[in-house]
Symmetry: C2
Subunit: 129 residues, 2 copies
DNA sequence: CTTGAGCTTACAGTTACTAGAACCTTTATG
DNA sequence: CATAAAGGTTCTAGTAACTGTAAGCTCAAG
């Protein structure tokens, strides 16, 4: 099937599907006219990628996951290790983001928000600590 | 003072300080030999930027904040609105990240992680739902 | 046969830097 | 005074993961 159909079935934009071909993630066959030709297996891989990307795995992680996915004899320990490393990163990002939110919340609360030029947000940003 | 000193005092890498000059965020004077020459005011602005970037404001937000910071007659309502919009984005990101973490946690827990090729993480990624 | 949709490639732009190369200036030392 | 190290300059390219745009080829329908 053509790229558009593969894109629709996998839920990705066609631009992205072409991009995944370009970087060698999912390389389709080509027809006589040069058009990409995706089969069901390729569409499955694209859908797999969409899900993995949504879960925040990087493209390189995805490449790895895809090869494990392809490999019937892969060890699930490999996959688990990858997922665990990823979870760790997510927890770090979460903590940072929460801290950031608290700081911002505090600043917004302290800011009167009227037309007086005195503003605690700017005061904090300028390093009043 | 030279770029290195300005960088050290503001807590930014000198590369970044030069970059901020290039994009017109903090443009220092130049000496006869072409060297950048930062004064205390410029260093203050750099430090301001560091803090604002740490809080997750984009460069364009920072440009806006900087002009408000410079403007003695700015309305703190403007700053507050910017901060509130930013907080909203952060909350969205937080919710997404939390959801992601829960999914991943669940998957890792369900994965036995030994050498058997059967792996629930890959099963989920392939769209078993 | 023409029109329009859909395919192709290639190149630029996005964000916020970072790395490296080639070259110039200043400062410290023998 | 010569020189070498340290630090300054600009420029280009690379990063992640696409997205947008343009020029041009192919195909299906009327």
């Amino acid at each position: 099937m053509n790229v558009r159909d593969a894109a629709e079935r996998s839920g990705l934009p066609s631009k992205t599907v072409r991009y995944y071909d370009e970087i060698g993630l999912v390389v389709p066959d080509r027809r006589g006219n040069g058009y990409r030709d995706y089969d069901d297996r390729a569409v499955q891989k694209l859908a797999f990628l969409k899900r993995a990307r949504q879960l925040g795995f990087s493209i390189e992680d995805c490449r790895h996951l895809l090869s494990l996915y392809e490999d019937k004899d892969r060890a699930s320990a490999d996959v688990k290790a990858l997922a665990e490393a990823h979870l760790k990163e997510i927890n770090v990002r979460l903590a940072e983001l929460e801290h950031l939110r608290d700081t911002l919340k505090h600043l917004i609360h302290a800011c009167h928000g009227d037309n007086r030029p005195d503003c605690p947000i700017l005061a904090d940003l300028s390093g009043k600590e």
